[in-house]
């Protein structure tokens, strides 16, 4: 699988999927004009790649400043996917990186993270 790197735009986050060392990240703001056009292909490639993955260390970083409710749905799906990847025998670490004192992002991170059963979850407060 070729690595994916997409620069951030005003309405979409930077995407960095390094399949070769299993390090993935979203960084920035997310309220795409069309949620499916932006996230559809990305989620599909992750699903494809993760399907037969075993015994691997996977790190996924969510470093989002703002996202809309349509993106929230995609994030929920990704968290479920990552938990499945961990369940099938991979060491999955999910980092939720937010700005220190951004209570809203912290709460959202807790909301997503609390349901992970197999993947390990870290809330990372970052000074900006």
């Amino acid at each position: 699988m070729d690595n994916i790197r997409i620069e951030a735009t005003e309405r979409t986050p930077e995407v960095d999927f390094a399949f070769d060392d299993n390090n993935y990240s979203f960084r920035g703001e997310s309220y795409p004009e069309d949620i499916n056009i932006f996230f559809g292909p990305l989620v599909e490639q992750l699903e494809d790649y993760f399907k037969n993955l075993e015994g691997t260390d996977v790190t996924f970083n969510f470093e989002l400043i703002y996202f809309n409710s349509s993106t929230a749905k995609v994030l929920m799906m990704l968290f479920e996917l990552l938990d499945t990847v961990a369940e099938q025998g991979n060491q999955v670490t999910v980092n939720w990186i937010y700005e220190t004192s951004d209570d809203n992002m912290q709460e959202l991170g807790e909301e997503y993270g609390e349901d992970l059963e197999y993947a390990s979850f870290k809330l990372v407060a970052q000074d900006v």
Partner: protein, 189 residues
Amino acid sequence: MKAEKMLRLRDDLQEDGILICYSGYMTESVLSSLGKTIKDKLTIEKTDKFVIRGVFSIFVEQMQNVIRYSDEMEVKVSDDSVLELRYGVLTVGRKVVDGKEDVFFVAIGNMIKQHDVERLNNSLTHIQQLDAKSLKALHKEILKGKTPEGSKGAGVGFIDIARISKNGFDFDFIPVNNDQSFFTLTAYA
């Protein structure tokens, strides 16, 4: 006369604390431009950045509701594209809420189908009564479940608005004709 009329409109809006008013067809590009303008205006005023994000989040959810659901709409279907425009009214401003000065609000108004009034009214009344913990639980339940029937997004836009609106929200309906009512929702950041 023309100038007098426009000046009166401007003065009326400003007296109500309105910083931005848009009445017309709402599209994703209108959302982008107005969104940037709101951020710029609040940044110039040195508004706390988390308050700016709150106002902006409410604005996005409110705008996308009109873009997706306003019942006042025009469509042109051709072989390779569908042009769709939906009409709504938006105001962004600030006012005194429960003795607190300078509370920012985002208000939206648009036509909805008469038969959607009851469902929307029930749903918003329910959300309005929930505390933070219950809002979070409902938010998650809907995100994890199937997207509600008729929804073109995640189906959690109103819950998001309720969560972000630190000073609450209110809403109202008025029948316009046999088939439609006008719906308005004001959320206080």
